[in-house]
């Protein structure tokens, strides 16, 4: 029976553990279910939450995702990490020269950094007019680069398809004239799965029509035909005689030089403020682009300037160094250039922001300049066009941050109010942005220019409430646990007492009874007046006393005698049993106050002290009257045993084993114990015990009743 139960428990545990493991697995590793996209699907470039940016200035408009920064290694990632066999299609356009742009597949562990991810990248590079493919493991390994026909042009769309099946990879680029270039690579030690994304290096770029679909061997064959995948071997660098492999690192010196022709008549931006305000002057300035949307801003070492261009120009990227000619209009702190004619000089020269306090920015001294400011987020909202509006506070200043477009790191939704933020953007005092509510506003290129320095303070009302509830629940759980433990312990004690009572009844009491009968029989048989008769009678008396003691102990051990209601009557019954028939001791019992439920431990102790006190009075005091009183207070119970006997001198020396025992028992329940006695004037034993809170007593009492009922039920069932 026992082994069957154990087996059932074991099987139940096993089933529970298996279920738990399966559930965790299903939640944690959905790759068990879906290891590739289930069908061909167009990837939404618009849905912000699906993408995660690592560097770059990403914006979405008219179905096109643009990275307007020429950072080296800007990435925009999406998809789950467990996708393995799939292909990605996209149209790709390089915004500038001297860089590359393309697609990443099977990527994981992405971070901000030039090659900071694990995964494969394929793309178009205009440095050497190639379609290239390689692998990044926080460092770049280029496996292949193949010439694109007719060549790679900036500002022209190409269709890219990048496929991964098992450890085979294929990439193809189709130019606008229909020429297709294909590379196939086999990487025996390949990365098996990962996300996909968009990446550009050293130039801005655009992507559109991004589609992802599951890939099969047939798709691979359809893509590469008879082309046998080459084994993935990194191109060895450098060879010395051939500089081409170094291009990615060295940049194209000669081609770069072709664009390096700066204007000689350029004025500094700060000097524009000193021009005549009467009529707009026509000027030429040179500066680095610090913001492209919602307005174009440039900056040189002396200040910043807003540009309004009426002429079409190539898309500009942050970091482009441009020469601008136009009419200058003066404002209080800065100027703006209208009817501007823009000429791109060179790229890749981003300006670093100046770190200022909000109070410094509020002076207007940094108007139109690229700054870095810290503040605590007071509130946030979106204007319905994808522009985030944040209100921040820093000591005495409030300011507004306008977050442009779809930058996604971190996304606005994840920003919590009262978080401390550091932001990089253009400081403007233009009332179009400040609405004359704050001294200045910051125009941020993207939400990637927001850095969370620290979250909101933990001690919010909600958290405090949660904490209070937790403490309450924990306290309740602790008390419940304590109560149950106490219950189990007490049950064990009672069971043991019951067992002892039975043992004593069956052995000790029976033996005494037998001894008594035997002695009585001897007395009956021998004649009166023989010498041993007094000893026999003494022995009979001793056996009777011992029998009585045993019965008393047995009744004390039974829990039904320990209820408060039975305390007084049990003591009275005990006293009456002790008095011999010939004795003339008068016993009086009194109960005072409302009867309370007394915990077993307390009632047991009172009973034992009461027994001892009654026994002492009857045996030693030669009293004629014995008074037993139980008095109930609100949270106390008091036992008084008083006699009118001979009394004694109370001193520590006079305390015998019995009195010391009473003391000790009272100490165990933290009760107050006192003996008052004067020779010739009787003795009074007084015990005052404190009771626990009433609800606990109630619980304990109910449980005791249940226990007794259960025992009775068991007993009946046994019979």
């Amino acid at each position: 029976m026992r082994s069957v139960t154990r087996r059932s428990i074991f099987l139940a545990l096993l089933a529970t553990a298996s279920l738990a493991l399966f559930t965790i697995g299903a939640i944690k590793y959905p790759s068990i279910m879906h290891r590739w996209p289930t069908q061909r699907q167009i990837v939404s470039l618009e849905k912000q939450d699906d993408w995660q940016a690592f560097g770059g200035t990403w914006q979405y408009a008219d179905g096109v995702m643009s990275n307007n920064s020429d950072e080296r290694g800007a990435k925009l990632m999406t998809g789950p990490e467990y996708w393995s066999n799939y292909s990605v299609d996209a149209d790709v356009l390089l915004l500038g020269q001297y860089g590359d742009a393309g697609l990443i597949i099977r990527a994981s562990d992405e971070e901000k950094g030039v090659d900071a991810y694990h995964g494969y990248m394929a793309g178009l590079r205009d440095l050497d007019n190639t379609l290239m493919m390689g692998r990044a493991d926080y460092g770049w390994r280029e496996y292949a680069a193949k010439a694109v026909l007719p060549r790679v042009f900036a500002q022209q769309w190409y269709h890219l398809k990048f496929l991964a099946f098992d450890c085979d990879f294929a990439v193809s680029a189709t130019s606008q004239n229909g020429e297709t270039t294909t590379i196939a690579i086999r990487d025996p030690d390949c990365i098996k799965s990962g996300r996909f994304g968009l990446k550009s290096y050293n130039t801005g770029a655009q992507w559109r029509n991004v589609e992802i679909q599951p890939a099969t061997q047939r798709d691979l064959t359809a893509m590469i035909g008879n082309l046998q995948p080459e084994l993935a071997v990194p191109r060895q660098l450098p060879t010395g005689s051939e500089p081409a492999p170094h291009d990615r690192y060295l940049e194209p010196i000669e081609r770069d030089l072709q664009a390096h022709r700066s204007g000689v008549d350029a004025q500094t931006i700060s000097s524009l403020r000193l021009l005549s305000p009467d009529a707009p002057s026509f000027v030429t300035v040179q500066g680095v682009v610090t913001l492209t949307s919602p307005m174009l801003y440039i900056q040189d070492s002396t200040g910043g300037l807003a540009i309004f261009s009426s002429h079409p120009h190539a898309p500009l990227q942050i970091g482009d160094d441009i020469e601008v000619r136009g009419d200058v209009y003066l404002h209080d702190f800065s100027s703006e250039l209208r009817n501007a004619d823009i000429r791109l000089l060179w790229s890749h020269t981003p300006v670093s922001p100046v770190a200022v306090a909000a109070s410094q920015a509020a002076t207007g001294a940094f108007d139109a300049q690229y700054v870095e400011v810290q503040g605590r987020l007071a509130e946030k909202h979106e204007d319905g066009k994808g522009t985030g509006i944040l209100t921040l506070e820093d000591e005495s200043q409030s300011f507004i941050a306008v977050v442009n477009g779809l930058g996604r790191s971190p996304h606005l939704d994840s920003l919590k109010e009262k978080s401390k933020l550091r932001m990089r953007g253009i400081c403007v005092i233009d009332s179009r942005y400040t609405h004359d509510l704050t001294a200045f506003a910051l125009l941020l290129p993207s939400s990637g220019d927001i850095e969370v320095l620290e979250g909101p303070p933990w001690w919010s009302p909600a958290h405090i409430l949660e904490l209070a509830i937790c403490i309450l629940l924990l306290s309740f759980a602790g008390m419940t646990g304590f109560f149950f433990v106490e219950r189990w312990r007490m049950q064990a004690v009672l069971d043991e007492r019951q067992r002892l009572a039975h043992e004593m009844h069956d052995t000790l009491a029976q033996s005494f009874a037998g001894l008594g009968f035997q002695l009585q029989a001897i007395c009956d048989d021998v004649k009166d007046g023989i010498e041993i008769m007094p000893q026999l009678e003494l022995a009979q008396g001793m056996v009777r006393n011992s029998h009585e003691e045993a019965r008393r102990s047995i009744s004390a051990l039974r829990p039904e005698h320990l209820e408060s209601v039975g305390l007084l009557s049990t003591l009275e019954e005990c006293a009456r049993r002790m008095i011999s028939k010939s004795s003339s001791v008068e016993i009086e019992t009194t109960s005072k106050g409302d009867i309370q439920n007394i915990p077993l431990r307390v009632s047991d102790t009172l009973l034992r002290i009461g027994y001892e006190a009654i026994a002492n009075s009857i045996r030693h005091s030669h009293c004629s009257r014995l008074t037993i009183t139980v008095a109930y207070g609100k949270s106390t119970v008091e036992l008084i045993v008083e006699d009118d006997g001979m009394g004694f001198v109370v001193s520590s020396d006079s305390a015998g084993f019995g009195i010391r025992g009473m003391h000790k028992r009272a100490d165990n329940i933290s009760a107050h114990f006192r003996i008052d006695s004067v020779p010739g004037q009787g003795t009074m034993v007084h015990v005052l015990a404190t009771l626990p809170p009433s609800f606990l007593r109630e619980l304990s009492h109910r449980w005791l009743i249940q226990l007794q009922m259960r025992k009775m039920h068991d007993k009946r069932a046994r019979n």
Binding site: R6, P243, H246, P350
Partner: protein, 335 residues
Amino acid sequence: MIERRRDSHRNRRIVICEPSKLFAGVLLLVSLSVVGCKRAPLTVAVIPRTSGTALWEPEHAGAAAVARSVGLNLYWNAPMRDDDTQTQISLIEKSVDRGVAGIIVSPIQTLPLRTPIRRVLARDVPVVVIGTELGIPTGPKLGYVLNDEQAGGRIAARRIGLILQGEGKIAIVGIGPELKSNTVRERSFETTLSREFPGIRVVARRLGLASVPQEQHNAEELLAGSESLDAIVALSLASTRGTYYALVEFGKVHSIKVVGFDQDLIPPIRDGGIDSVVVQNTFEMGRIAMELMNHEIHGTSGSAEINVEPVLMTRENVDSAEIRQILNLSWWSPQ
């Protein structure tokens, strides 16, 4: 009676046997998990000024070669620009938070990195600094692997002396007090030049700027000035490139000689547009730094400051084995 005793004995054995089986099962599971959770190799973060450049990728190759041989894992990442000090500091802090065993860093600037590195050391994480001194003395947990800037300055001065044959006027551009190594480089150059080539006069000095266009603008102003120059010494990578661009723009590539610092411009060296560049052996610096780190991690090193001699790259030796080894970018394979 005997039968019953046997039965009871058997029963007792069954009762004893079940916990022992359970215990054995638990023991097996624990053993398997211990075997399964084989201790991952320690990770060392290597954070150069930027990555993906001819100057710093060889450091990756050198450090990776040693890391592979001693069983260390390498985390390689850096700011996307070589003037982004704040991002470099963030990378250091994040690496420490991730629990890396050590950090090898090439500071972008000397002073702003001092406190972050002190904090890393305070957390008992060993550090090897490459390229410049921070002013923190070496110790069991801090070592330096430096480009021998004294030697670099001497090499450049002697090259100038050689190509100008001891006579002429020169300008120094790209002076950068924000990096101590640059200051040492400049002082060494000027001391050697004045001592060994008193006939060569420094007629202009320009502070270094953050970007190539700014350096180009700087050099253009210099070239547009009244003073005629025979040579320009550019003390940094950006100033070397900016100077070269300015010379191209002013059509003075072959009339004014350029001696630059730090590897970047190989094609102009090949065609004589730039006379020479004093290149840092970052491959060797990365290799030594990782060896030093390995010793620091295992507590087997004393304080160390190791200088690595730079090499003059000229048209004559640009394709030599020595230069090819210095420009080694193959971080993925054993060297």
